[in-house]
Structure formats: C-alpha cells, structure tokens
C-alpha cells in the first residue's frame, strides 16, 4: 500500500483549561489516501468538525489546542510546523468548505476577487492570468454566465451557487485534500444532488482526496469509499463503505441505521438512542456509549473497549467485537422493535377541506409604496385531511409550503379561497370567534427555541393555551394537566420551572408539542418539526407524534422536505412546486410510482443508503424560480426533462384516477375535469 496522503495519529484536542476543559477529539487516528473519499459520520457534538479544524490548526483561539498526537501530511508532521509554514498548507495543500455558504463568503467582495485572493496567495497569480483562472474555476464548478457572475457579490447568488463558489475557492489552491464539512446540509435536495455530483466529478478530474463530514447516512453511502463513525470524541467504527452498510457492527452505528425513518418501518416505532452524548470534561473508565447502549453489560462500564481489528480492515471499538471478551448470551441476541398499537378508529369524515387557497404578498416600490406586483406564495392549493390521518406537504424551500400551513390556521390571512374546518369557514371568522376556535388546530414550528418566549418558564409556556382558552379549570388543575402533558411527551414534571434555554433541541420540540396538546386540538400542523434535530432525536419525535396520533386521534398536516419522514409517517402526500400542488395521492402510490416529472426528480435526488447499487439521479437544471414572476405556462417547464411545447403555453389541468391526481400534460386530462387556463 502506498503512503497515505494524510495520517492522523492519536490526535487529541483540548478546549479550555482546568476543571472545565473538554476533549472534543480524544485519540483519533485514521488515514486518507490520494483520490479517496473518506467520510466522518456522527451526530452533532461528537467532535467531527473539531477534528477537521485541528487538522488545519484552526481551533478556536485561545481556548483550543492540540494536546497530543500528530497529523502527518505526506509524512510531514503538521502539528510541529511553525505558523508561517502552516499558512502555506491551508488552502494550498488542504482546503476546506463549510456548512453555511451564506456566512462563509465575504459580503463586500465580488466572488471573482475572493477566488483571486487564493490564487494570489498560493500561486502568485495576478492580473490577466488570475482573471482567466477565475473564469476557468467558476466554469469548472458549473456556474453559468461566468463573465457576469464573477463580478457579482455573494448576496446576488442563491445558496447552491454560493456553495459552488466556496468549492471554486477551495479548488483555486489545487489542494491535495478537500475537507467538506456538511457541504450540503443547508441546501435543498435537488441542489444537494447537483453539488455532490460536482464534488465527485472534480475529484475524478483532479485526483484529490476528500474528507467528507456528514451526519447523513444517505449522502455518505453515495460518496465515500471508507467510512468512520465518531462518537464522543472517538472513532467507534471504521470500515469500507460496502462493508459498513452491509454490516455495521458497533451498537451506535446500528442504532443510527435503525432510527432512520422509511416506509418499511411504518408499523413499528423507530429505534431511538436514549439519553445524551456524555460531557467530555471527565475521564471515562468504561465505554463512552455504555449509558445509551441497548446491549450493555457490567463489563462495559468498567473496561474501556479497545480498537478491535476485524476482517477486511473493519475496526470497531466495542467489547462485542472483541473475541477475548465473552459477552453474556442475553446481550448478543437481536432485539425486535416495538410495534405501534393499531390505530383505534378508522378514518372519520373530512376534518379540514381547503379549496383553491391563494395568498399573494404585494411588492411595494418607490416613495409612495405603490404596489408593483405580487409574490404568488400560494397560488390555488386544494387539499383535504380526514379525521385521524396525516397528509404530508412536500416541496423545496421557497415553494410556499410553510405559507400554506400558516394560511390554513389564519396566522396569515389568505387572499382568496376557502378553508373549511369541521364545516366552519375559517376565512370568515375573525376576532374573538377565531381565537376561540384556535384550540382546535395547533402549529408546531420548525425551530422549537425561537417559538418559545425565552423569558417564560416552560411550565407557563405549556399552560398559556389553557389560560387564554379558559379551559382546564382552576390553577391547581391546570398545573396538574401541565405535569401530565410533560410526562405524556416524555419529560419529567419537575422540569416545569426551568427556562427554554436549559433544554436540548429534542426536549424543546417536546415542550412545543406539549404546548400544542394542552388545548386538546384535533388538527396539528407540523412545520418541519424534526429538520433541526439529529437522526436519533428525530426518531424520538416521530415516534411521539405517531403515538399521539393513535392515542388521541389527531390529524396532522406534516410540512417537510424529507421524503423518508413522509414515507414513515404520512397517509397521503401532496407535492408542491412554486405555490401549487403538482401531484397528490396515497403515500405508497406517489412514492413508488411518481407521475409528475418533478416528483420523480425529487425522489431520485434523495440519497439512499442501499449499499453499492447504482441509482439514476434525474438531475434538475437550475433552481426554483422566483414566485414573484413564475414562468409562463407550467411553472416547472424550464427545469423539466420532459418538456413539451404545450407546457410553455398554459398550466396543465388535473388528471389521473380518483385517488392519485397529477397536473402535467404527460397525462391526458380528465374529460370531465376542469381545465384551468392560467
């Protein structure tokens, strides 16, 4: 085997000093070869990013420092280099792209200048030569119209374009190793597919190595050759991609797989990992995962597992993988996930019926604030949710799905259309009568922290709904009910006196769910309730939502961009594109046999964890157009792979059989169906 490009040897990082010091990276060793993609997988707070920053010696100063181990780049120890030499490594030998392209670019420099800076620094390229190289690089990362674009500022670019620019800056130094820290987490799935494909193509062309840091098992499956799982500052498993996905051996890795929602697990509760990542400020005597492990036995708490070499270079840090440690028989056997109780009642009548909902925001210009146009955020959406069922509303960011949710609840008043809830027309209600009605439908926000008043105790937050609705009886009774709700969502009743910032993300979302439940709603609109959470925490919240639906007969409108969550949770799914629903039907039908080209592309862009299997990604060109000036005809036609002349003329009418409706010219419209001309 040739010499590795980069080799980490027992790297240890300490942040802070004295008793409060934490070791986010604690003895990490791995190596990456030229032209290889190595993935570092793990949940937030496990030390992935710190490892990358330590490799570049960019730890937060002055608190962070490398206290042990070495980083060898081509045999040269980076930890021993003077800072001046290190600067020649950063950007030139090792480049990094970050999670947030929005904040990683300098807002007052044109993107051409920002790329030119790297060229000047590392290649002494200036003037004409530099300008030509900038255009070349922008072209290489797939930015159209490079001459004009290179003179633009970051705010003029979309998120996906910015990430491309970040990649161009990283490439400008012609690095041997590219560290990509969650490069697509902030991007939509179709844009994510574009960026990942770009990275793969660039790797083939330049033969650089990539260190991919991600929490997404699907992305890693599609990109990496080798995978390492990190937990609490240590690697717990390392293997080739195929081996890892075929047979993950560490209980933590296995749990990560089991907690992923998908269609096959619909009837079961998802596996969850109880508890939290331990604080890294203490010495560990046993396994760091012991407190959360479902296969723990006494030995795990007293003896730290060693780095066990398995066959085919499959390393695991677990006693179960160590042949010299006999595991008790009770631990070895497989566990089966618990089944959800069957839904008590069949679906009732229609609870929510939305027809032709429209919401337009006026655009004001000039001194007199004249209305010069409208943003058609929601442009004729119809949907229905039966009692006790879940409808998922799917689409990319900016398609208007959150606005639909808020318009249904009259948090934003619709411009036109009707919203009938239990045969009451909500759009005509106002003032006190609307406020009284609000107890029947609740909203769960994407970011649980910003949706809670930071100056209120969580008990008061949950109680507030009962107070304003005048339900729940006396103060003591309300307090009892709050305690009950806390235990219902899996929190301890002693925590009611705390403030929101004392809780973790998953706990905060539980509090928000408790707040919504406090008024006994019948419909809950969940707006991406798990997208800010880790996979194992997401599983807990999804389990909770499903459990509550079965127990309380709730109806959900589940707004999300995550199709595997849809597959797990929803009964029906509606796909939204630029303010309109393009396809709607039963979840199995739509996900298995998508009809609309957009749905097909969306589904194909979702990274999958099936090992090895080559899949065909339908790549969508370009990005979501502005809802202020939607394209003529079918909104999707500029990006559609199956575009026809008719698509440019008018918006397609509804077609399809009774249950599975689609709006596309590929399918003959209903003879009886109404054709919308707009």
């Amino acid at each position: 085997m040739s010499q590795p490009l980069i080799r980490l040897d027992n790297l240890t990082v300490r942040i802070g000093s004295g008793d409060g010091a934490v070791r986010p990276v604690d003895g990490v060793s791995f190596e990456i070869h030229r032209g290889e993609t190595f993935a570092l997988l793990g949940e937030s707070g496990c030390g992935k990013s710190m490892t990358a920053l330590a490799m570049l010696r960019l730890l937060p100063q002055p608190a962070g420092r490398i206290t042990g181990g070495h980083v060898y780049l081509d045999g040269e120890d980076l930890t021993a280099l003077p800072e001046v030499e290190m600067r020649r490594v950063r950007g030139r030998r090792i480049a990094m792209i970050f999670q947030e392209p929005m904040t990683s670019l300098n807002p007052v420099l044109t993107i051409g200048d920002q790329i030119g800076e790297t060229l000047r620094q590392h290649h002494r390229l200036t003037g004409r030569a530099a300008r030509e190289r900038v255009l070349e690089l922008l072209d290489a990362v797939g930015i159209p119209d490079v001459k004009r674009r290179q003179a633009e500022y970051p705010h003029q670019l979309s998120g996906g374009m910015k990430q491309r620019v970040m990649i161009a800056i990283a490439l400008a130094g012609e690095p041997d190793l590219l560290i990509a820290d969650e490069p697509t987490t902030a991007l939509d799935v179709t844009i994510q597919a574009q960026v990942l494909e770009l990275l793969q193509r660039l790797q083939r062309d330049t033969h650089m190595a990539i260190l991919l840091i991600s929490h997404d098992l699907g992305i890693v499956a599609g990109m990496a050759e080798r995978v390492a799982v990190m937990y609490a500052g240590q690697l717990v498993e390392e293997a080739t991609r195929n081996r890892f996905y075929a047979e993950a051996r560490h209980p933590y890795s296995r749990r990560l797989f089991e907690s992923l929602p998908d269609v096959g697990k619909r009837d079961h509760a998802l596996a969850t990992i109880p508890g939290f990542v331990p604080h890294l400020d203490r010495e560990f005597s046993g396994c760091r995962f012991a407190d959360r492990c479902d296969r723990v036995w006494d030995y795990c708490r007293s003896h730290a597992p060693s780095w066990n070499l398995g066959s085919e270079r499959h390393h695991v840090r677990c006693h179960l993988a160590d042949p010299s440690v006999p595991a008790p028989a009770s631990v070895v056997k497989e566990r089966t996930p618990s089944r959800h109780a069957d839904s008590a009642e069949a679906a009732g009548g229609t609870l929510l019926d939305v027809r032709d909902l429209q919401l337009h925001f006026p655009i004001h210009r000039g001194v007199f604030k004249r209305v010069v146009g409208h943003v058609h955020a929601v442009d004729g959406v119809s949907l229905a949710i039966p009692q006790g069922r879940t409808l998922a509303l799917v689409g990319e960011s900016g398609c208007g799905k959150t606005t639909v949710g808020k318009a249904i609840l009259q948090l934003l008043r619709p411009t036109a259309g009707s919203v009938r809830f239990d045969d009451i027309e909500l759009t005509r209600l106002s003032g006190k009568r609307l406020r009284r009605r609000r107890r029947d439908f609740q909203f769960i926000f994407q970011d649980p922290y910003s949706s809670m008043n930071p100056r209120m105790r969580v008990g008061d937050i949950v109680e507030e709904g009962m107070i304003v609705q005048g339900i729940g009886g006396s103060r003591a009774e309300r307090r009892r009910r709050v305690a009950e709700l806390f235990s219902q969502v899996g929190l301890s009743a002693e925590q009611v006196q705390r403030y929101p910032h004392e809780f973790s993300g998953g706990q905060r979302q539980r509090i928000c769910i408790a707040r919504a439940l406090a008024v006994d709603p019948r419909l809950v609109i969940c707006d991406e309730p798990t997208s800010a959470l880790d996979v194992s925490v997401q599983a807990q919240i999804l389990n909770l939502l499903k459990h509550l639906q079965i127990r309380l007969g709730l109806s959900y409108l589940f707004i999300t961009h995550n199709l595997s969550v849809v597959a797990y949770l929803a009964d029906r799914v509606a796909v939204m594109y630029l303010g309109r629903i393009v396809e709607e039907g039963p979840v199995a039908e739509v996900l298995e046999h998508p009809r609309h080209p957009y749905t097909q592309a969306l589904l194909s862009a979702v990274p999958r964890i099936e090992a090895g299997g080559e899949r065909r990604v339908i790549r969508l060109e370009g990005e979501l157009p502005s809802p202020a000036s939607p394209p003529r005809g079918c909104h999707f036609h500029p990006r559609c792979p199956a575009v026809m002349p008719a698509c440019r003329e008018s918006y397609p009418g509804e077609s399809g059989d009774g249950d599975h409706r689609v709006r596309c010219f590929l399918y003959p419209p209903d003879t009886a169906g109404r054709q919308t001309a707009r």
């Binding site: 009284r436 909203f443 809670m452 008043n453």
Partner: protein, 269 residues
C-alpha cells in the same frame, strides 16, 4: 471601582433627597452677617449672596432634581413605551400617524420646546415635569416601536397567537419582557438628561421659584458673584457633574451586563 463609585454617588443623591424631609433644615434662613462667606467651620460650603447656607440649599436642590428626574423618566417611559408598542403592534394608519408625530417631535429641539411649554404653563416644578415629559416620551416611543417591529414577527409571538391569545396579552406577556433591557438602559441615560434639562430650565428661571432651591437656580444666582465668591457656583456645578457622570457610567455598565445576558439567552440554540 467602576460600579461602586457611581452607585455610591447615586445612592447618596437619593438618600440626601429623602433626608430633606427628615432633617431640620432652614435653607431660606438669612444670615446677613455671613453674606458671601466662603466655606468654613459652621457651614461646609459657605453662604450665598443673601447669607443662606449653601450646603442646606444643595440638599434641597438634590431633592428637586431627584423628584423631577424620577417623575419625568417614569412618566415619559410609560407613555412612550405604551404609544410605541401599541403603534407598532397594531400597525396601519394609527402607526403612520404616530411615526409622523414622533418625527415632528424629534425634528424640534427638545429643550426649546420644553422652554416654550414651561413658559406657557407658567413657572413651577410640576410644570417643569410636564414640559420635560412631553418632550421626553418620544425617545422611548421610537425605541419600543423599533423593538416591537423586530419582535412581532418572531415565532413565539405567532405561537401565542395560534393558541388564541389576545393582543393585549401578547403585548404584555410576549413583547414587553423581551424589550425591557434596552428600555431600562434608555431610562437610565434618560435620568442624566433630565437632571441637566431641569438645571437648564431652572437656570433660565422657569423651574423652582425663589425662595425654593434648585441646582440650576443656585448656579444662576451665583454667576453674578463668580469672581468674588466662586463657591456659589462650584458646589451646585460639581453636584450636577457628579450625578450626571455617575448615571452615565452606571448606564454603560448596565448595558454591558444586560446585553451579555441577552446573548447567552438567545445564542444557545
């Protein structure tokens, strides 16, 4: 040091202001034999042009400025916050009118308006309070309006709305507690401004009327004898200076503290 010195000065100010009701003071008693006597035993700060004890008059002046500061700041903060909050939360025509009113008040030199008002209402301490409050509410209104405009689109406000909370409840429970910090800081600095404004109006003869004592009036009386008896102006001048400096120092510290708490409370998401 940076906290204890200003806090001590302000505590002394408040204490002296209150003590005026308790102590057997005779600020208006004229000692003809002591006219313009410099500080010495018997009277620490000397006597003024009419032979009155400057030390005792300084205490009475402390009460005047303290009362005016407390009244003006509470009145204008209450009025301004109420107007600004309601205006920004309701929006629409009402808000546009309020913004215009605020702009007009801001465009007009505040102290000039106060002088005009105090002149119109006639001299007297209650009229000074009124005049300064009428000028002073604008700052609080503008600040609270800006705060509400940025807070009212926060998700926790929408969450309260979706629970069915009424507007008044949302304003009191979900908006006011979050804008308290900047308003408290603004009010602290407001105290310094009011002390100076009160001294200014009294200097012009619009505030406390003779024989009542006020720091501004004492300075006015002293200016005529500045060359022969500088202690007449030095004592009230130093008092104003110490109070204003202390308020500003304390306000700075307060801002650092409250802002820091705000960062740790919201930064940990």
């Amino acid at each position: 040091m940076r906290v204890w010195f200003p806090a001590g000065v302000l505590a002394l100010w408040g204490l002296l202001a209150i003590s005026v009701w308790i102590l057997p003071l005779t600020p208006n008693l004229i000692h003809l034999e002591h006219i313009l006597t410099p500080p010495g035993p018997g009277a620490w700060l000397g006597y003024d042009d009419l032979g009155r004890d400057i030390g005792e008059r300084l205490l009475v002046g402390a009460r005047t400025s303290f009362l005016v500061a407390v009244w003006v700041v509470s009145l204008s903060a209450l009025l301004g916050t109420a107007v600004g909050t309601v205006s920004a939360y309701w929006g629409g025509l009402w808000d546009r009118v309020i913004v215009q009113v605020i702009d007009i008040f801001l465009a007009f030199p505040g102290i000039l308006l106060a002088i005009a008002l105090a002149g119109l209402l006639g001299p007297g301490i209650d009229n000074v309070v009124m005049a300064l409050a009428v000028v002073g509410w604008v700052g609080y209104a503008r600040l609270s309006r800006a705060q509400v405009l940025s807070l009212k689109h926060r998700e926790h406000v929408m969450a309260a709305e979706s629970l069915g909370s009424g507007r008044v409840r949302i304003m009191i429970r979900h908006l006011l507690p979050l804008m308290a910090a900047p308003l408290i800081i603004e009010a602290t600095f407001g105290v310094a401004a009011v002390v100076i404004a009160e001294a200014g109006l009294s200097f012009l003869g619009l505030g406390v009327q003779p024989p009542g004592a006020s720091w501004g009036a004492m300075i006015r009386d002293g200016t005529r004898y500045m060359l022969v008896a500088p202690h007449l102006v030095l004592a009230p001048g130093a008092a104003i200076c110490a109070v204003v400096l202390s308020v500003n120092l304390l306000g700075d510290r307060l801002r650092d503290r409250l802002d820091k708490r705000l960062i740790t409370a919201t930064g940990e998401t």
